[in-house]
């Protein structure tokens, strides 16, 4: 894969932080979902979030999106010291579409980006605009397919194209690789790298696929309700915390 790893600072970004999360805490009732979570996301960086199910990855995303109340601070900084809330493109965990759902890619897409009612005959300009958005993920041909008939990889590409319209400052992807076959996975990762370079935006994604981490992530955050380890893919994957969380040392005779 032709992915070259950025340093902690992207070119032309002079080390600016796009997103600065500090001492973040989230509670659902009495349950503490996130505790004292702190990390920085730099411009042009791809950061992967890993952790077991229920570690709070999706909650962290939804908190960054402003959907869940929290303690601690989330600060955004844009070029020129502008601290207003940036646009965040969100690619959710693949929704489940019934195969029979009469929702075409065009319906879904245009409902999200335009107020023009999707049940009326579609104007040519709107179709052209959606097709153009889809072309960013090489998905022009998907326009009239039904959402329920898309493969996992195709669905992720449509969701990605939607997250890129309007062009965000930060792209957040919730398990984009789940339900995607091996070809789709390579295509998706290449595309993310292409997007990162051509639009200079920061990408935060969660994944369970540790094998490919080293090929695309600049930084990996190991999360289990709190941040257990932050570092390069090699650092995190070889850390004791990683092995503990995923019980990789079981059966190695430690209890001996």
């Amino acid at each position: 894969m032709s992915v070259h790893r950025h340093g902690t600072t992207g070119p032309g970004c002079a080390g600016t932080c796009c997103l600065r999360v500090d001492g973040l805490g989230v509670n659902f009732g009495h349950e503490e979902v996130l505790r004292n979570v702190s990390f920085h996301l730099h411009c042009g960086e791809i950061v992967a979030l890993i952790g077991p199910n229920g570690a709070g990855k999706s909650s962290l995303f939804r908190t960054i999106l402003g959907q869940i109340p929290h303690t601690g601070t989330i600060e955004f900084q844009r070029a020129g010291g502008d601290k207003t809330r940036p646009l965040i493109g969100y690619v959710p965990q693949s929704p489940v579409f019934d195969r029979g759902d009469p929702v075409s890619v065009f319906d879904f897409f245009s409902a999200a980006i335009s107020p023009y009612p999707v049940f009326l005959p579609s104007p040519r300009r709107l179709r052209a605009r959606v097709a153009e958005c889809l072309s960013r993920v090489h998905g022009e041909g998907l326009l009239d397919r039904r959402m329920g008939a898309l493969s996992g990889g195709e669905l992720q590409r449509v969701l990605l194209a939607l997250a890129l319209e309007p062009l965000p400052h930060i792209l957040v992807l919730d398990e984009p690789l789940s339900g995607v076959d091996i070809d789709g996975e390579k295509q998706l990762l290449d595309m993310l790298d292409e997007i990162r370079t051509s639009y200079d935006l920061s990408i935060l994604l969660s994944t369970h696929d540790f094998a490919t981490l080293g090929q695309f992530a600049d930084k990996v955050i190991l999360l289990k309700n709190e941040v257990l380890k932050v570092g390069t893919p090699e650092e995190v994957l070889s850390s004791r915390e990683f092995q503990d969380v995923f019980h990789l040392n079981l059966g190695k005779g430690e209890r001996g």
């Binding site: 959907q67 929704p95 009469p102 929702v103 999200a112 999707v118 049940f119």
Partner: protein, 274 residues
């Protein structure tokens, strides 16, 4: 008597002309709402609403209101809001929450209707419905409701659909998911309550489910879905009215059976789409 004469013959009667008008207004209304009821998996919910509407009528009658309809509309709307709230705030599956609400509403309705040894028979007409009893003023009311729903559809169908498909994604794109759901539930509540008297409580839900359920068998996008759903409701409405005139059966039940036949046809015709 040739076919066209047979088609026109019933409408020499004033009550049949009223019924025809009512069908022409009610069926597109249900056809339209049905698309969203099916897409957002609320078919059981609309059934429960009918039950709460009945409770409203029972309370209204108990209070001695001349027209208990308004009490029923209010109660059904409150029920819809409360339900939307509880569904969002609890981790229970939707069908469980609906079951809780539905059975409570029915029990309360029967309790009030039979309170102090009251007889239930006066409510029997609600269960079956009678479209021939529709008055011009009520048709006008239905027409206004149809207009409001069409405006609602034009203004917020896109958001409604996104909220149904993926609430978190909709939220991230600025859709007020709770309010979309709330407004839609209230719309169903009002429509079900107002038309219950003519369509009949027992079959009213089928009008909210069958048109779009059949539509799903043939439609590939939202335009085909809406078109087929509204047309099916309209045609079945007219056919059911004629059948009920010539056979003397309940109009609500006849319309429902026409829709069921249409569903069966589309089911057999559906393309095997992979």
């Amino acid at each position: 008597m040739d076919f066209f004469a047979a088609l026109l013959q019933p409408f020499q009667w004033g009550f049949m002309r009223s019924a025809l008008l009512a069908v022409l207004v009610i069926s597109p209304l249900f056809g339209l709402l049905s698309t969203m009821v099916v897409t957002s998996r609320m078919s059981f919910f609309s059934d429960a609403l009918g039950h709460s509407a009945f409770t409203g009528i029972a309370i209204g009658t108990l209070c001695g209101l001349a027209d208990p309809l308004w009490m029923a509309v209010l109660l059904a709307a409150a029920f819809a809001l409360l339900f939307t709230y509880v569904r969002r705030r609890s981790n229970m599956a939707s069908d469980t929450v609906i079951g809780v609400f539905s059975s409570t509403a029915v029990a309360l309705g029967i309790f009030i209707a039979t309170f102090g040894g009251g007889s239930f028979t006066q409510y029997n007409s609600l269960l079956i419905g009678d479209i021939l009893s529709v008055e011009p003023a009520k048709i006008a009311l239905l027409a206004v409701i149809l207009l409001v729903v069409v405006v609602l559809w034009l203004a917020s169908f896109n958001h409604l659909m996104l909220a149904a498909i993926h609430p978190a994604l909709a939220d991230s794109r600025g859709v007020k998911v709770f309010w979309q759901e709330a407004v839609f539930s209230v719309a169903i509540a009002v429509v079900v309550t107002v038309s219950m008297t003519w369509v009949g409580l027992l079959v009213i839900n089928s009008l909210l489910v069958l048109p779009a359920a059949a539509g799903r068998n043939v439609a590939r996008n939202m335009r085909q879905y809406h078109l087929s759903s509204v047309l099916a409701a309209l045609i079945a409405g007219l056919a059911g009215l004629m059948i009920s005139y010539y056979i003397g059966s309940s109009a609500g039940a006849s319309i429902t059976l026409c829709l069921a036949v249409w569903f069966a046809i589309t089911f057999l015709l559906r393309r095997r789409r992979l």
